[in-house]
């Protein structure tokens, strides 16, 4: 007979230490009751911090409530807030701005992230060093990145302007990345791409490494070209990973707030005012609580609906 392990010793001493009546009580609970015992705190927490605020927000969206004027009370106004939100040209402009930001950041991050992952998947000298270096931006706080890039974009002393000037011969202070109406939307795309491409790369790298070598070996035996291997093996097998990464990033970028606030605060004018920034202004600067609740519900339903359709597509891809 082998000697008892340390874990077994601890388990047996714990069992002895448990007072008999308590042990009997626990033993007397059904599996279902024990399951509820464990799940109940989580459910209560979810109800308190997710479900209750959601229901309250829905209720507020049908009122003219203003959180800074609580004493004034609230009046039921039916669908008026929803009508106003959907008829507000500024809201549609902020949604267009969000769509521009979302589409371009996703496109660039997928292309660059996949490309980098593909390169890093090759074994070469210093490969670990480069992987770590590339991952650094996504480990930084968005507020830090925003501030840092604001200095880089500064027209008089910013490194970014000097680099562009070096290659183009233009005067560094002749263009303003954050202050120009045409360049500002691109400046936030560049920073988000710089920060989050490593995330897409990391997930793609995991996908690439999960492809068994024997599939490529079989393709070699069948004399498939590298190009054919890429399109017929690599892309289809990495696609579920890539789609998942895009889903996570798209949801995050739809809610993007901190990075853009630090960079442009929605300006110049309102050309980089994303939906989330607009929502924050309505809710916590103008204090139009009822109106902003309706806007939040519309955004929530949009993200929820689109994400559901996307997840169905993702499942279809995985099952192929």
């Amino acid at each position: 007979m082998s000697r008892p392990s340390i874990l077994q010793k601890i388990a047996s001493s714990a069992a002895v230490a448990t007072p008999a009546p308590v042990a009997r009580q626990v033993r007397g609970l059904s599996d279902r009751a024990i399951a509820w015992l464990f799940v109940t705190p989580t459910i209560l927490l979810l109800l308190a911090i997710n479900i209750f605020p959601l229901i309250w927000t829905i209720q507020l969206s049908f009122t003219n409530y203003k959180a800074n004027r609580a004493a004034r009370g609230e009046k039921f106004i039916g669908l008026r807030n929803y009508e106003r939100v959907l008829g507000d040209a500024d809201i549609w402009i902020s949604l267009q701005t969000t769509a521009h930001f979302l589409i371009w950041t996703m496109l660039l991050q997928v292309l660059l992230g996949f490309g980098l992952a593909w390169l890093l998947n090759k074994q070469f000298k210093g490969h670990s060093f480069w992987t770590t270096l590339i991952l650094l931006p996504m480990m930084l706080s968005p507020a830090v990145v925003g501030n840092f890039w604001r200095f880089l974009y500064q027209p008089q002393i910013g490194l970014f302007n000097y680099i562009i000037a070096f290659f183009t011969g233009a005067d560094p202070s002749s263009f303003q990345m954050l202050g120009d109406v045409n360049l500002a939307p691109w400046s936030i795309v560049i920073v988000d791409t710089w920060m989050w491409t490593p995330y897409i790369m990391l997930i793609c790298l995991a996908g690439l490494r999960s492809i068994p070598d024997y599939i490529y070996e079989a393709a070699e035996v069948d004399r498939a070209s590298k190009w054919r291997q890429f399109w017929s093996i690599t892309v289809p097998m990495v696609l579920p990973f890539l789609m998942l990464a895009v889903l996570f990033r798209a949801i995050e970028n739809f809610k993007m707030f901190d990075l853009v606030v630090e960079l442009t605060n929605g300006g110049p004018g309102s050309v980089t005012e994303l939906a989330s920034i607009n929502l924050k202004r309505e809710a916590f600067e103008k204090w139009r609580t009822g109106y902003s609740s309706a806007f939040a519900i519309i955004l929530f339903v949009t993200v929820f609906g689109v994400a559901n359709i996307y997840v169905k597509a993702l499942n279809a891809v995985k099952q192929r």
């Binding site: 003219n64 800074n68 954050l178 110049p268 916590f284």
Partner: protein, 446 residues
């Protein structure tokens, strides 16, 4: 053995409780004898800290301070008030907050206290009483004591203006002397003259003006031009009737001018700048002129690099009328404070003429007539006379309870036009009327 263990535990707990009670007693006493005053983090706040030591010496009440940087000041303090927070016993709140704070019960009404203590609003400059203390506007209902008079003014590089070569070049180009401007048109000429010029081997620019989008910056800057063109928020005979006033031809011309000024004569990248950015630009020798609040002028005058004789000050130039944008704040007792009596004691102390004189001497802007109407006042500081002149023609933004909504609408419309080149000045002001009308309809005022 078990009983002995319980006994010793009880003894230890009792001992600890006794020790904690003994230690806590003086700190509770100290807490009862302390007040927290909330304000923005800027030069005058430091002067107030210094001056409040006299109050502590006199009353035995310790003063604590909660100073918040300007860009976050309104958000932070209005959240505090809206949530019924007890952080601040005394609050030096912006003039525009008074309507909301009075109607929502955030501030203690001070009339009976003033009557009881013999504090007369007649002792303070009427413009400051109107702006910082009363709600409804102009009524004898006082919610604050005028604490810090302020207006938007200008500072310029006197040393550059006095260089013979520059003066002669300016005169030959514009046919007049290079002197502080009397109108916005003159000011634009001067700014254009300096824009992109090399001074002491360094490229300099015309002026630093307010263009900030997030809080109140561009509104405070653009109204400096709008008021000078005679802008009115509403029909003087019909409240909340804005058509033809907010978007009058003069208002459109003023807004167009502000945009031209921004485009021609500000440093590169000056798209989201307010007080601090202006100070940075001016102190680093980048600009010939800077728009900013008088509150910063004592600090600038003392600045070792650009202060002293190197700089001069002038009041906001007129165009059709002499007018300046109002800044400044009144001091109020927060109704959620548990130390209202002590807070009122502070206000009583602050209202005394001696304290007001010291307040001015330390760099605060007193609103007390005994200070401002003193025959020697204009010579006390190089900007004192301009301050008095500015306070004579100050105009303030809406002070309605819905002021935040009104302000943000103007921030958006003006920034969209001036900085982001969206639409025309006429469209910006027309849309502004639509926004404000919607707000006043929600408020039940239209």
């Amino acid at each position: 053995m078990k009983k002995g263990w319980i006994k010793s535990m009880l003894q230890t707990a009792a001992g600890a409780a006794l020790a904690l009670t003994v230690m806590a007693a003086p700190s509770q006493k100290a807490q009862a004898q302390s007040l927290t005053l909330c304000w923005a983090a800027w030069d005058p706040a430091n002067a107030l800290v210094e001056m409040s030591k006299d109050f502590t010496a006199q009353s035995g009440i310790e003063m604590n301070f909660e100073f918040v940087p300007w860009p976050n000041y309104a958000d932070r303090m209005l959240n505090e008030l809206n949530s019924g927070g007890k952080l601040c016993d005394l609050l030096i709140g912006d003039s525009q907050w008074i309507g909301g704070s009075a109607e929502n019960g955030h501030y203690v009404k001070l009339n009976s206290f003033f009557d009881k203590e013999g504090i007369s609003m007649n002792d303070f400059l009427p413009a400051t009483v109107y702006a910082y203390s009363t709600w409804p506007k102009g009524s004898p209902n006082y919610w604050a004591l005028p604490a810090m008079g302020d207006a938007n003014g200008w500072v310029y590089r006197k040393d550059w203006f006095s260089r013979p070569a520059l003066r002669s070049e300016f005169k030959s180009k514009y046919g007049r002397d290079l002197e502080p401007p009397k109108t916005w048109t003159e000011m634009k000429d001067i700014a254009e003259f300096f824009q992109g010029r090399d001074v002491d081997g360094k490229r300099v620019y015309g002026a630093a003006i307010f263009t900030e989008r997030g809080s109140e910056g561009i509104t405070m800057g653009a109204t400096g031009a709008l008021y000078s063109w005679g802008f009115k928020y509403q029909n003087p005979n019909k409240p909340y009737d804005m058509e033809g006033f907010v978007n009058s031809p003069d208002a459109v011309a003023a807004l167009e001018f502000y945009k031209e000024f921004y485009k021609c004569c500000t440093p590169p990248g000056y798209t989201d700048s307010y007080m601090e950015e202006g100070l940075d630009a001016f102190k680093s020798g980048q600009v010939a002129m800077m728009m900013n609040w008088f509150a910063f002028f004592p600090g600038l005058h003392k600045d070792p690099v650009v202060g002293g004789d190197k700089i001069g000050f002038f009041v906001n130039p007129g165009q059709k009328v002499e007018a300046s944008t109002l800044g400044g704040q009144g001091i109020s007792v927060v109704s959620y404070s548990e130390k209202k009596d002590q807070a009122l004691e502070y206000i009583k102390w602050f209202a005394s003429p001696e304290v007001q004189k010291k307040w001015w001497s330390l760099g605060g802007y007193s609103c007390h007539k005994s200070v401002l109407l003193d025959p020697g006042f204009a010579n006390t500081q190089p900007f004192a006379a301009d301050f008095l002149k500015a306070m004579d023609g100050v105009q303030d933004f809406w002070q309605e309870p819905a002021y935040a909504e009104l302000l943000l609408a103007m921030q958006k419309r003006v920034h969209d036009f001036v900085v982001a080149d969206q639409g025309t000045a006429q469209e910006a002001l027309d849309k502004l009327i639509e926004d404000w009308t919607e707000t006043f309809e929600d408020e039940g005022k239209l």
